[in-house]
Symmetry: C2
Subunit: 349 residues, 2 copies
DNA sequence: TTGAAAGCGCTAACAC
DNA sequence: GTGTTAGCGCTTTCAA
């Protein structure tokens, strides 16, 4: 426990070579003779030598550290994203510095600055607002961001790449599905209208209504980030004189909220209200009714953003500013069904 | 973008003091005169100076980096744990290096070594086996682990602290609940029997059976880590000539698997089979039937392990080797009900 | 209370 | 292909 960790110098000494050679063997930067190489390797093994990355990154080399920023790691959506990214990162020899923002731009800013002071090689962020990272990039500070890729959210911006789903198409498909089932009163449940990926879903919904001659029948509920406030918003909508016959929930948490609200009011799903969600997780396929949903390709988010990030770090590929949109898939299950002609009035609580 | 980041030297220069003084102001290690202090602070602000942690940790100071190791960050249980820990960490000025093991000891070992080579100040791990970290700590390598706290799993071991739930009591309570409902054929669904926290739940189950004179009626299914294999194990059990009337699923994923298996066989919950799960997440309270479950205090896991880790890092508190057990809470909901006298035979698929 | 100076372990020139 | 050396930015003796 007390033994000091061996340094590259110890390795070189034991192998009878110079530190430069030892270093070159360890991180394969330049070719090394066969004999020296094996002697160094032997010394590394014998001494249990482990590279001190703090030192190497100080010296100017890559830190092999990637910062990852998500609003809430306990949300399965971000959980899966981080898991997939971490797997990719480990394959490429990077470690992940994980940071959480609680959807708060001030915290986000502080956390990103902390990451930058760690000399991260790249940054992957699901921003709390569409413009926060661009603001940082071009801020008065001249904040020194490494190659950065935004995921799921964020405006296109010169220095930034974005990987996201084609939310417009997703919203459109979901709404068409509902209209096809005979629904004419479809409410949308959003947690916010500040995020373009959410408003794109709403736009898809609007477009579908319009295409079907249902203009002016829009019902948009905004419920905030928490399950409880979202639920409250749905209850309000369901208590109206003319409640919707279907609810399109724009996130997985919103879907949970819509379901709980309907349950709480004693409404049958999909008998009284159809519900369609966003994202696709295991629980949606377990308890009844199985949830109809618009699935986003999380694995592809991870793969595309990682590829792009590494290219940028290596100075390869196209210059920054790309936007990559991936398709969503509508999964029709049990929570959506034919519209009732007249929905029974929800009893007052 | 091209401007080089200012160093402590730049700050000292602009403030007209020595680098030592500047350093002392920045991280408050030693008292500094009022005048110097304000000049330094001014310079820091003006230059937008940010401490280079790679350099300071190289020089021997704390890295303020904590390694966190979990089997799968996409599992909500670990997701919540990491979220809670991250929040605590940020408050104390630490960053989290997150690493995932896929329940594989070899990967775990490799990933922990990567963390150690980052000179982390402390390590929080949910190990893939109870003895992996202890092996690392006492290994021939003399692997140089910083203060380490195990969470949820892990044998008590001299150099290691452990924070976990009182799984024996949890298993006991769940089983008593079922027996109280008249069940005499209760199957337990475990993903593994290699982990003590799981076998403790099984022991609680056994103890409850014994206390009720149901010795010898144990049914223990082991289903592996994936939802599909777990489900297969349950189906097998449910297809027996004398299927169980209740299933006690030992993790949240097992619960999902049990539910899907029952559904697939057309069994009503809890009419045909009662199901009780472990852990408590939002989805369990949304779709029907609401799941009866044994909740673990994840927030307390985070708080206790963090407190302990920080104390160890600061050399305070008791010497390592502690085991802290936190109580579980039984939440009775809809998925458990009275036992049927005779369960209808499950139709072959 | 402050400053000067010595490295922490490593990599990148640059020489051989 | 290999060795020598000069720092990277910082904290920390040690002296003043």
């Amino acid at each position: 426990m007390a033994r000091k960790a061996p340094t590259i110098r110890d390795v070189a000494l034991r192998a009878g070579v110079s530190v430069a050679t030892a270093s070159n063997v360890v991180n394969g930067n330049r070719p090394v003779g066969e004999e020296s190489r094996s002697k160094v390797l032997e010394a590394v093994a014998a001494l249990g030598y482990r590279l001190n990355r703090a030192a190497s990154s100080l010296r100017g080399a890559r830190s092999r550290l990637i910062g990852m920023v998500v609003p809430d790691i306990a949300n399965v959506f971000f959980g899966e994203l981080v898991r997939d990214v971490e797997e990719l990162a480990e394959k490429d020899g990077y470690d992940l510095l994980l940071v959480t923002t609680s959807e708060d731009p001030a915290i986000e800013r502080r956390r990103i600055e902390a990451l930058v002071s760690r000399r991260i090689d790249g940054l992957l962020v699901v921003p709390s607002r569409d413009d926060t990272v661009a603001a940082l990039l071009n801020g008065p500070d001249g904040a020194f961001l490494p190659p950065t890729v935004l995921i799921d959210r964020g405006d296109p911006s010169p220095g930034l790449d974005t990987v996201a789903a084609d939310c417009g198409a997703g919203g459109y498909a979901a709404t068409r599905h509902l209209i096809g089932l005979g629904h004419r009163d479809v409410a949308v449940l959003a947690h916010t209208t500040q995020l373009k990926n959410i408003t794109a879903r709403v736009d898809g919904y609007r477009r579908a209504l319009r295409d079907c001659g249902l203009d002016g029948r829009e019902r948009i509920c905004v419920g905030g980030h928490s399950l409880d406030t979202l639920r409250g918003a749905v209850e309000l909508e369901l208590h109206r004189a003319d409640p919707p016959t279907a609810i399109f929930a724009l996130t997985n948490i919103s879907a949970l909220a819509a379901i709980k609200a309907a349950r709480g009011l004693g409404l049958d799903i999909p008998g009284d209200v159809s519900i369609i969600g966003f994202d696709d997780f295991d629980w949606m396929l377990a308890l009844r009714p199985y949830l109809t949903t618009v699935a986003q390709p999380i694995g592809d988010f991870a793969a595309c953003s990682w590829r792009r990030l590494i290219d940028r770090i290596n100075g390869e590929g196209e210059p920054p500013g790309l936007r990559i949109e991936l398709p969503c898939i509508l999964k029709v299950r049990e929570s959506t069904g034919p519209a009732r002609m007249r929905l029974k009035t929800a009893a007052a609580p």
